[in-house]
């Protein structure tokens, strides 16, 4: 591919920490990707609207607040409504193991818990791009 992979890095939910999101943003940039960073406290609607306008290949979200079971599936659902189901959606943050199967069922392609090497995320994106 002779164009960079475009990734929207978003931080949904009300918690005010975006360190995790920034770490992943930098790692993806260093891997040659074009990262669109949208900042803190984004609603699913804002995330999806930005993802559509930016025509991204990937939406990567990070949540610490525990609202992942609501927010992640909501983003997947809204993306589908927009007809953008060729966009890879991944999530990260503090996510209990028990929640992971349900989230995958809901359409989140993969979930990365704290301590995952950023190279795993990069590899996952590169091998699972949908377009």
């Amino acid at each position: 591919m002779d164009r960079p992979i475009r990734v929207l890095v978003a931080k949904p939910g009300l918690d005010g920490h975006d360190r995790g999101a920034k770490v992943i943003a930098r790692a993806l940039r260093d891997a040659g990707m074009e990262v669109i960073y949208t900042g803190l406290r984004q609603t699913p609607e804002q995330i999806v609207s930005a993802a559509i306008q930016e025509d991204v290949d990937v939406v990567a979200m990070s949540i610490l607040s525990g609202a992942h079971n609501h927010l992640f599936p909501k983003v997947v659902e809204l993306m589908k409504e927009e007809g953008a189901d060729d966009v890879l959606i991944i999530g990260g943050g503090v996510i209990p193991d028990d929640d992971i199967p349900g989230l995958k069922e809901a359409g989140v392609a993969e979930l990365f818990t704290p301590g995952t090497p950023t190279t795993d995320v990069i590899d996952f994106i590169k091998t699972n791009l949908k377009r």
Binding site: P4, D30, E34, V35, Y37, G39, Q42, Q53
Partner: protein
């Protein structure tokens, strides 16, 4: 529906996809723009430039909101540098425009400078055309006012707003060298900080030193974070457009921009023809060898190369 029709219809995904295609130099996108070019020219294109951290994104957000109150459709192209080492970038301008994301009358697109070389202005100009067809009344292009390629980009705008901040001091001298003359409007942002009136005065003095100026650019003090001075700035932006139209300057500026654009496109096409031909026939390689060995001079070599692509259809 086809992409072209969807774009004309104001479909956001079509708009987004076409901007990507234009950015990636896609042939189909160029055909679509050719077909729809007659629908462009209605948007007022505004370049927003100035030092990094000067408040360009914050200000663009506020300008867009002011224009939304008049129910105008707004497009924003925010350009950020790409790392020359990794080819990657973090485009963070949207952070300052978060609540515009939900407004269906605003379309924001972030763009990296990539390895585009001269192609960056081609990519942004392509995106401007797409947003114009999409139906935007106003299109903002935000770039950091440093490199030549950024200056080239904002030059393609109808109106250029140069953002300054208080306390630039000697930096104004440095900015003056390349950029002062492209500003149609000067906005001293962060006027809540110390020294804004002095900076504004310095800019005015500098502008006074230029005797050839047909129109003296206004110098405003604004505070983007507090939404202060924005109505004024919107007024000046509109006034500049009226001035351009009345003095027949808009047509002239667009002509001159078109000239630059055509030359750039032609130049690029010629280079790509030479390189493509070289891939199949190796003529450039052979001739370069000859020049290095002094069998042929570079000027005759040029003539030979140009001759070789004369009959190739684009």
């Amino acid at each position: 529906m086809k992409l072209a029709e969807r774009l004309l219809d104001g479909d956001r995904r079509a708009c987004a996809r076409l901007i990507s295609m234009v950015e990636n130099n896609d042939k189909e996108a160029i055909e679509i723009i050719k077909e729809l070019y007659k629908h462009t020219g209605n948007a007022h294109v505004i370049g927003i430039t100035g030092p990094p951290g000067g408040g360009k994104s914050t200000l663009t957000d506020k300008l867009a909101k002011a224009l939304r109150k008049e129910n105008k459709k707004v497009g924003i192209i925010a350009v950020d540098p790409t790392s020359p080492f990794t080819g990657g970038s973090i485009l963070g301008d949207r952070v300052r425009m978060s609540d515009l994301a939900l407004d269906s009358g605003v379309f924001i697109r972030s763009m990296g400078t990539r390895g585009h070389l001269g192609g960056l202005s081609k990519a942004t100009q392509g995106a401007v055309k797409v947003l114009d067809i999409f139906g935007c009344d106003y299109i903002f292009i935000e770039t950091v006012g440093v490199g030549q390629s950024e200056v080239d980009i904002v030059k393609t705008a109808d109106t250029v707003v140069l953002i300054m901040v208080p306390g630039l001091g000697d930096d104004i001298q440095a900015i003056k060298a390349g950029t002062m003359e492209i500003g149609d409007i000067f906005a001293v942002n962060k006027s809540d900080l110390f020294g804004a009136p002095k900076t504004a005065t310095e800019i005015k003095m500098m502008l006074d030193m230029n005797p050839n100026m047909e129109r003296k650019p206004p110098v405003l003090q604004v505070i983007a974070t507090k939404n202060e001075g924005m109505d004024n700035l919107v007024d000046e932006i509109k006034k500049h457009m009226s001035y351009m139209q009345e003095a027949n300057k808009l047509q002239k500026r667009r002509e001159s921009n078109a000239k630059t654009e055509i030359i750039k496109l032609a130049e690029e096409e010629i280079i790509s023809l030479i390189l493509r031909k070289n891939e199949t026939m190796g003529l450039l390689d052979d001739i370069a060898k000859g020049v290095a060995m002094r069998e042929i001079d570079p000027y005759s070599a040029r003539d030979k190369i140009l001759d070789s692509i004369k009959d190739i259809t684009i």
